[in-house]
Each structure stands twice: as C-alpha cells, then as structure tokens.
C-alpha cells in the first residue's frame, strides 16, 4: 500500500515535471451540445493528433471547474458554446478571466446565437460582440450556397493579418464565414485584428430592416480577433462556430458575385494555424541567460564606470515543433535606458545568443539594459537588468594635463625664484642695511 502510494506520488511529481515541459496540453472543450463533437470532428482530431488531451464537457455541466486547490486543472480552454445562457459549476466569466490572468489560453467561437456570458467575456478582453441574432452580412461577397440572407461570407484572404505565426502561410484561397461580428475596443492596445470584413460588410440582424447604425461596419467588422495578454496568455475570438466545422473545412468556395471558385476553402489551414498559435505551439519565446560585463571580463562589476566598453548578451529560445531551439530573429534591439534610452542598438544573433559591445554614455546614473521585443505573433519578450553607472573615481582622472603646462611652469619658476631671491637677499643683507641707513 505504502509502496503504491509512494509510486503514485512519484508519478504525480513526474507528471508535474512532464506537464511543465510539455507546455500546456490539457485542454477543456466546452460545447453547447454533444453533436458539435461530430460536426467539428476534423478540428478536434487535428488537436488530438498534435498531442492535446481534450476533455469535453457541455457548457452548463454542473461539475465544471477550472481551478482546484489553487491550481489550474487545464492549460487551455476551448469554448464552442455560443448559446450558453449560464456556465455550469464554478465556471463564470470571472473564473475564465482569472484563468487568462493565470496564464491559460482560450479559444472562443461564437455564432449568431451568441449569449451574454460570451459577450461579457469578449468585452473583458477588449472585443465587443454584436447582439444576439445579428450576423455579418455582405451583399457583395457571399458564397453561392448562401440562402438569400448573404450571411455565408466569402472572406478575402487579403483581409487576413499578415503574420505567418497566427494564420499560416499566405494564401489566395478565401475562407467561409457565417456568424456574429465584433469590433475591437479602441483603448485596448493588445487586441489583434486577425481577420476583418471587406468594406461592404456590416453586422446586423438579417431578418430586420436596417433602422439604426450597425454595430460594426466595413473594415471595422472583426471576424477573428486575437489578444495576447501581458502575461502572454493568448485568447482568440472567432465570430463563427461554423468556421471550424467539418462542413466548412471541406466545402468548396464559389464567389456568388465574381464567380471565382476554389475546390476547398482555406478554413482548415487558418483554423489549424490559429489553434497552434493560441495553444502556444508557435511563436513562443523565452529568455535564457542574460549576461553583461565589461569587455573582456567574466563577471559583471558592482558598478560600471562612465564610458566603459561593455558586452551584453541575452539568450533567446523559440519553441518550435515541441522543442526549444535557438531563436534567429534579426531585429532584436537592446536599449540602455535611464528614463530615456541613451543607447539603442541591434543585437547580433549567433546560435540563439544575442550580443553586442557598446560604449556606455558619459552620464552617470542608474540604468537598465532593456530588451523589449514585441512582435505580432511572438510572446512579448521583456528583460530588464538594472545596473549603476558611476562617475570616474578620483584616481581615474589624468594626473597631468598638457593644457596646464603654463601653470606648472609658473609654480615651479616661482619656487625657484623665491629660492634664488632668498639666497641673494641673505647674501646682501649687510649691504642693503648699510645702504638704507
């Protein structure tokens, strides 16, 4: 008994270690109803094949919980439950935002049947969904299979965010989209516009007359939005649940207006790429060892002196295909900051080690070596190292300066003069006395 318990304990420890390295594979999938498992089987299968451990639950399941004993039970959360009225168990919008703030990744797909919890979650993350029963409508870009409401939209691949990390290789094949529109919160600098509608799109209830200004119009209509939080947790909102469906993955596309047709939509490619990004299979960077020292020295000094030559290096690794490999970015910059940057320079990469030699400014103070690498798709890399830069010590100044030569000369000549004078004075003392008297 004891032995098994010990073994179990060991396994738990091992599992913990393993789970740390196999970054975030435990995934909770919330669905409206079990049929979604079938209608979206291609997407889920691709997740499973990539090693994700999927747990399916209905969104109103009373046993739902993301956190237990202060630890998150899952690394990722997929919400394919647009019409949930209220989450079950201990799950609610606050629990999900806490999950995000705790580092969890969330993929949310909505539809025209969107309900308040999902909309609330969106607005917590800087995305405003349109109301229930609305849909994105585009009278100039719809598929031939559309049922007359012009809500089955053929999206222009040029409207995709240009980022290979998020949406995969650039393609000319359009995607099919049917669902609710979003707008990004203008005050939120973190929201990424992954896919937006064309200029003719708008979001409204397709059964109603357009009686008021639509929630989203033209290119402001977001179809897919992504958010990388400051703790690098990733959230993706897709307004269309069908976007991930087997039907859309395999469907052929024919533009109803221009007549252009493609054998298969780009939905699968984009969805896979998005899921790879949101679950941190791609675009994850980490900082390894940060080293700085005076040039040619092995360890950093207690404080630098102004105008020292220093070496700074930082190791950056990228998570690629399940392994940490050296990152090979060309545009990583180092700043040497004291309120304002005094030095800003590119770092040269060599096998994942980014380094640069530079001369410290002629201003003393408390500085920071700052690497702030913020590129779309990559985790936000932020590394600061505080160092003090002191002025010259009293022994480090030049002892003799050539411009002072006249002063040296005058001082020594004065001394010599006094010496000579005192000899003369002493020698002729008797005479002068006699003269004055």
């Amino acid at each position: 008994m004891a032995a098994t318990r010990a073994l179990a304990g060991f396994l738990v420890v091992l599992a913990c270690i393993f789970s740390v390295y196999a970054t975030g594979k435990k995934t909770l999938v919330l669905v409206d109803n079990w049929s979604i498992r079938e209608t979206h089987s291609i997407f889920f299968r691709s997740l499973r094949e990539r090693g994700f451990d999927l747990t399916f639950k209905t969104a109103d399941d009373a046993s739902l919980a993301l956190i237990k004993y202060g630890e998150f039970l899952y690394d990722n959360l997929v919400i394919f439950a647009p019409s949930v009225e209220e989450f079950g168990g201990s799950l609610d919008v606050t629990a999900i935002t806490n999950f995000i703030d705790g580092g969890g990744n969330v993929l949310v797909a909505a539809s025209s049947a969107i309900t308040d919890p999902i909309r609330e979650l969106g607005s917590e993350c800087g995305v405003e969904f349109d109301e229930e029963k609305t849909a994105v409508i585009d009278h100039l870009n719809y598929d031939v299979k559309d049922e007359g409401k012009h809500t089955l939209i053929v999206t222009d691949p040029n409207n995709l965010l240009e980022s290979e990390l998020l949406v995969g290789k650039k393609t000319s094949v359009p995607m099919l989209y049917r669902g609710v529109g979003m707008v990004a919160d203008v005050d939120n600098p973190l929201v990424l516009n992954v896919l937006h509608g064309s200029s003719t799109a708008y979001s409204f209830n397709p059964d109603d007359k357009v009686s008021e200004y639509p929630h989203a119009v033209g290119k402001n209509t977001l179809l897919i939005a992504a958010l990388q939080a400051r703790n690098n947790a990733r959230v993706v909102f897709v307004g269309s649940l069908d976007f991930f469906s087997d039907e859309f993955f395999t469907a052929s596309v024919q533009h109803a207006v221009t007549g252009q047709s493609h054998a298969q939509s780009a939905n699968q490619q984009v969805a896979t790429s998005l899921s790879q990004w949101v679950f941190k299979e791609k675009g994850v960077l980490k900082v390894g060892k940060v080293f700085h020292a005076k040039k040619g020295e092995k360890s950093p000094p207690e404080a630098y002196t102004i105008m020292d030559q220093v070496t700074y290096s930082i190791e950056i690794e990228e998570y690629k295909e399940g392994k940490w490999v050296p990152f090979d970015g060309k545009d990583v910059q180092l700043e040497f900051v004291r309120i304002d940057p005094f030095v800003r320079t590119f770092l040269k990469a060599k096998n994942g080690k980014f380094s640069v030699d530079f001369k410290l400014p002629d201003v003393y103070g408390v500085y920071q070596f700052l690497v702030d690498y913020n590129r779309i798709g990559y985790t936000h890399l932020f590394s600061t190292t505080q160092v003090s830069v002191r002025p010259l010590e009293h022994t480090q100044y030049e002892r003799f300066i050539s411009s002072a030569n006249p002063y040296y000369f005058s001082a020594f000549s004065m001394m010599a003069g006094v010496f000579v004078f005192s000899i003369v004075f002493l020698h002729y003392k008797e005479d002068t006395k006699a003269k004055t008297e």
Partner: protein, 705 residues
C-alpha cells in the same frame, strides 16, 4: 566664602586659587552643556533626530565600514533614482570624518562602541568644546572673567542647543565649534602677526570648510574685518602677515574639499576675500612707496594708479561675469540680502521652513536676556576699541542681520550674542562689584561715601542683585526651552492623552521597517523629499528625491505626480519606475506637518518647470482663494493623487466624538470627497495611527484595458 573654605584652599596662593576656580567653572560649563542636551535621549532613546541627520548617520556608517577612499568615491544609486548622487563630491565630509576618527580612536583602546552612539553624542561633545573655545576667545577679546561668563552662557543658550541636542547629528553641531576656533586663531594671529598662528587659523578654517557650507560667512567676515582695520587706519604688518597667510593657505586647503572645488576662486561669494587680499598687497605696497617718495609725487602717482586700476578691474570683472567664469550670484545668497527674493523666484528654497525670516519672538525665545545685554556688551567693546574688538563688533552686527533674514542663521548669531553679552555682564559686574563695600561692617563710618555718588553701595547692590536675577531667569528659561521645544526627535512623536498620560507615536519607524521587511530589495519608493533621507537610511530602499535638493526638475516631477489626477500621475510613476508611494497623513492624530499641509509647495514646485506648466497653483484654491479640503474645496484638489492617497478610506472613519466621519483633525473640517476608489494604486500599509500610508503602484492591466 573665605571663612568656610577648607584649609587646603587657604594654603594656595591667590593665583592658584584663581586657576582652580576657572578650571572648575569651565569644567562645570562643559558638563552642563553636555548634559542639558540629553533630554531627548533620556525621554525617548538614543536615536537620531529629524531628516538630515539620518543621511549623515548613513554616510558615517559607510565611512567606518568601507574606508575613506570608497567613501570619497561613493556613488549612491539608492537616492535620486535614476540619476544617482555622487555622495563624496556633494557633501561636507568633516562631520563624518570626525565621528569616524573618534570611532577608530575608541576602537584602538578597545572601547567597542556602536557608531550610532558616537553620532548621537557628537553634538553635545562638541558643544562642550565650544564652551572652552568661547572662553578662550572672549579672554582674548576682554579678560578671563568675561570669558567665564560667556562660556557659561553659551553652554546653555537655546539658539545653539536647537541644533546640537543629542541625536541631532548635523553639520552645524561641529561647525560652530570650528567657526569659533577659527575666530580665536584669527584674533591670535592678528594680535601676534605670527605665521604660526596664521597657519593654525588656516587649518581651523579648513576644518570649518570641511564641515559646513556656512564657511562662506566666515570667509567674508575675516576680509571685512581686515577692510575695517584698513579703513580705521589700523592696518599693520601684523594684519598683513596674518591675512595673507590665512587667505592663501586657507583657500588652497578649502579647495581640497571636492564639494567646494574651484568655488573659492570663481564664485562671487568668495570674491570679497580675494579682493581684500589684493587690497592688502596694494596697501602694503603703497605704504612702502610712500616711505620712499615725497608727498606731492606720491599724490600724483596714487591718483593715476587708482584711476587705471579701477578701469581695468571693472573691465576684467565684466568680461569674466559675461563669460560665466565668475558664477552669478546664487539663489541662496540672494535670499540672504533680500528676504523676499527666494519666495518670489525659487519655491524649493522658500519651501524649507528654516529659510523663512525670523520673527521677533524667536529672538527672545532663543536668546532671552542676551538680546538686551548685547547692546551693553557692544558699548563696552566700543569703549575700548582694539583690533580684536573690531572683529567681534563686525561679527555681531553682520550676524544679527543674517539671523533676521533666515531662521537657521540664528545659530551663527547665538555664539556672538553670548560673547558680547558675556563681556557686557562681566564689565557691568566688575564695575559695580568694586563699589560694593563688603568691609562696611568693620569700618562703617569711613567717610560716608562719595559726595557726588551718594548711595553708591545701594546702587551697586541693586545692580548686582538685578543681574543675578537675570542670570537665574536665563538659566530657567534655557532649560525650559531645551526641554519643551528642542528635545523632540521628530521621528518619534509624543502627545498628551486625555488622562494626562503620554502617548507615543512611533509610526514613522513602523512604516520604514515595514518597507524594509516587506518590499523587494530594489523597490523604488516615491515620497515628498522631506522623507528621502529617512527612507534610505531606515528602510534601505531606493528613493526618487531626498533632502539634498540638488535637482529641481526631478523634485518638480514628483510634485507633478502628487498634484495630478491618478491617470497623469500613473504615467509619471511608470516613467520613473515607482513601485511604492509613501505619504504622511496627520488627519487622524492631528499631526500638522503632514503632506496635505505641505501640498501647496508640491504644487508650486511641480508647476515651476516646463513639464509641469499645466499645474497652476490657483487651481487648487477655492474661488475665494482659500486652501480647503472640505466640500467647498477646489475639485482639482479633491481629485488629485495626494488627496486620494491621504484620505483613502478616511471617509468612513470616526476621529472625534460628536463629529461626522472623515473629520480631519488638522484642518478641522469634514473632508469633501469621501467615497472614492483608487484605480492605479492599492493600499499596501497604513501605520497604527495612520501617520504614514504606503501604496503600491499597480501593474498595467493584464488584458490591456
């Protein structure tokens, strides 16, 4: 007295008795001056007082631990983040070196005493030395009797005690000793005309320069003395030798202090000394020429030379000032000459309470009977003018002027008051003591007194009794002032409770120790500059601004943060990497020198630079021009960061019986904005009596809003 004196005293010769008495009086004076400064140690504990002393203590500790050279090259990255401060080059090291020397001296004899104790007791120790020096100085000026009186007076004069109680570990504590020592040696060298005394005087001057910025007063006073001697025709070879040696040696020595640097040859404050030095040479030369030439020849030569040199000197001076070689008159000096200058132009100087003009009452408070004995003493000085007397007269008159301009210069005035009043009292007593007919019982019908001085004896008795009464009241006054006004450490506060007991508010240390133990090692704390030194010394955390107010823009930046709304302040705080904000709040206890009362200075200083131009003092007043925190107060004030930090959660607290919640006991009003939340800060710690409140600056929102 004589009949009661023991036999061994009788057996001594009068000279020996005299010496013994002097020694006894001086010893008692020393002991008295030391012990009267111990009130705060006995009442509270052996603790460093106020603000600046904490910095001095910290640097002294560094000096004893790290040695002189690392002290000299010390770059402090804990203060003035992120600018840092070169400590070695921006302080007068005399105080620290003195304490460290005493420390090592004691260690050598295996007295293992903590450096803090030395720091606490250094000022009382040096005031004992001052007593001795005063005696010597007055003796040089007048006689030993006056010296004893002056020594006794200075040992308890409140004007000096205010800066030298135990725990008040500040430059002034030793500087007064240095100053009087320099004066003593100067008078010696003027009297003797010997290079030996002049060299000693220059050394004393060096010590003075190394310990206090007030040396400027000294280096202007000595030339003034020389000038006065020239004007009165008392210029002699003795003065020439004394001044030339003191000036040359003293200037070279003073330039060794890195904080002083090249100022003695560049700044205008030192130009008087330089000019008088030149004048001395000319005067000596003229005397020489005059002895060689006839009167007419000399007159022609003299006139043409004066004209020529006058033009040349004015020209050179103008060129140097224009090119910036001679630094323009600095603000602090202007404020000496024109008390309203600083207030109108430099808020940071005006904001220091000790830079305010002195009120009349504080003259009496700090000097008591000396105020009216001073003119008497001056009279006695004038009645027998000597070179030395002229010096003390100049000293007295100039320092009275300066003390009137700035409260803190009362310190310079106090010694000369004691000396001149000592001369006055001593002379008066000597005059009338002679008239006391002590032997009248034996030979009463001698002559019936002088015809033209009828009741000589009675008048004499009256004067002596009156003088004694004055002296006694002086002692009582001094002791009372010391005990009540000058012995509070201000780091620990005390108040009387309703039942008469004493309540101790130890909130400052509570907060500083909280910071020390609960925040990251490299956390940056923002507070108003008054508390900077204490935070670095006690909490050991990085601060943005401190009492060494050398960078106006940086202080202004902090003032702007305090005076802005939360959003604006958050930008500034992020720019400066602030982690914690500390405010002092007295509304619960009634502690009146809190941040709300200092707030107008923050607004003024904050608005005094370009980046703070949007902060206008008038916005913080009501339309009627009042500064109030109640409902009538200006909405900008009621929503600024400082207000919010001070009054956060205060709106729901009952402070006084029969008053509504949120009743501020300092401003005596109910606060105007009670119900608000903090967006960018969160309360981290509030001390027991709410005196110190610490807030943590929140990070940016994780999800971006």
């Amino acid at each position: 007295m004589k009949s009661n004196a023991p036999l061994w005293l009788m057996r001594m010769s009068p000279e020996k008795q005299d010496t013994l008495l002097k020694i006894m009086v001086l010893t008692l004076g020393c002991v008295l001056s030391f012990s009267t400064r111990l009130f705060s140690v006995l009442r509270f504990e052996s603790v460093i007082h106020e603000f600046d002393p904490y910095f001095n203590y910290r640097t002294t500790r560094y000096l004893t631990e790290e040695g002189f050279y690392s002290f000299h090259n010390w770059f402090d990255d804990r203060a003035w983040y992120p600018l840092g401060r070169i400590i070695g080059g921006t302080i007068y090291p005399g105080l620290m070196v003195t304490s460290a020397a005493i420390y090592h001296f004691l260690r050598f004899f295996n007295f293992t005493i903590h450096i803090r104790e030395i720091c606490v007791f250094l000022a009382p120790l040096f005031s004992s030395f001052t007593t001795l020096v005063t005696y010597q100085l007055t003796k040089e000026l007048k006689d030993a009797g006056a010296g004893l009186v002056a020594a006794a007076m200075i040992s308890i004069v409140p004007g000096y005690i205010s800066r030298s109680v135990a725990g008040s570990y500040d430059n002034e504590g030793i500087a007064i000793f240095c100053m009087l020592l320099t004066y003593l040696l100067w008078i010696k060298s003027v009297k003797t005309g010997s290079v030996f005394w002049s060299a000693l005087c220059a050394l004393a001057y060096f010590y003075m320069v190394s310990s206090w910025g007030g040396y400027v007063f000294l280096i202007n006073l000595i030339p003034l003395h020389v000038l006065a001697l020239m004007a009165t025709g008392r210029f002699s070879h003795r003065v020439y030798v004394a001044y030339s040696s003191v000036y040359c040696l003293g200037t070279i020595l003073s330039m060794q202090i890195s904080f002083v640097g090249f100022q003695p040859v560049q700044s205008s404050e030192h130009m008087a000394a330089f000019g008088v030095f030149g004048l001395c040479q000319i005067h000596a030369f003229i005397d020489y020429v005059r002895s060689k030439l006839s009167r007419e020849q000399f007159n022609i030569l003299f006139k043409s030379a004066v004209l020529l040199f006058g033009t040349v000197a004015t020209g050179v001076g103008a060129v140097l000032t224009a090119t910036g070689k001679i630094s323009p008159w600095t603000g602090r000096f202007y404020s000496l000459l024109d008390p309203s200058y600083a207030k109108n132009n430099i808020p940071i100087i005006a904001s220091v309470s000790e830079h305010q003009p002195t009120t009349w009452s504080s003259f009496y408070f700090d000097l008591q009977m000396l105020v009216f004995m001073f003119p008497a003493g001056l009279y006695f000085c004038f009645s027998r003018l000597t070179d030395a007397n002229i010096f003390i007269i100049m000293y007295g008159v100039t320092s009275i002027y300066f003390a009137g301009v700035m409260v803190r210069l009362m310190l310079v005035l106090a010694p000369v008051m004691c000396i001149i009043a000592g001369i006055g009292i001593s002379s008066t007593l000597t005059t009338y003591m002679k008239n006391l007919d002590i032997s009248k019982k034996d030979k009463k019908p001698k002559k019936g007194g002088d015809a033209n001085y009828p009741i000589k004896n009675e008048i004499a008795t009256g004067v002596v009794v009156l003088m004694t009464a004055f002296l006694i009241s002086y002692v009582f006054h001094c002791t009372w002032v010391t005990s009540e006004a000058y012995s509070s450490p201000s780091i620990v506060l005390s108040a009387r409770a309703g039942d008469g007991g004493r309540i101790i508010f130890d909130d400052f240390r509570e907060a500083y120790y909280w910071l020390r133990h609960n925040t990251p090692e490299d956390a940056k704390v923002m507070s108003w500059w008054d508390y900077g030194y204490q935070i670095t010394a006690m909490a050991n955390r990085t601060i943005l601004v401190d009492n060494n107010t050398w960078n106006n823009t940086h202080i202004s930046r902090v003032g702007q943060a305090m005076a802005s709304t939360e959003d604006k302040a958050y930008e500034i705080m992020r720019e400066l990497d602030v982690n914690y904000v500390l405010v002092i709040f007295g509304g619960l206890t009634g502690y009146s020198s809190d941040d709300i009362n200092k707030f107008l200075w923050m607004v003024r200083i904050g608005g005094s630079t370009d980046r703070g131009a949007h902060i206008k003092e008038a916005d913080y007043y009501t339309p009627q021009g009042e500064f109030r925190v109640d409902k009538e107060g200006s909405p900008i004030l009621l929503n600024c960061l400082m207000y919010k930090m001070c009054y956060y959660r205060f709106g729901s607290v009952y402070t006084e019986a029969s008053k509504p919640t949120g009743y501020d006991r300092v401003r005596n009003t109910e606060i105007g904005n009670k119900d608000f939340q903090l967006d960018v800060l969160e309360e981290a710690y509030t001390t027991e009596h709410w005196l110190v409140r610490i807030y943590k600056v929140k990070d940016l929102e994780n999800r971006g809003n």
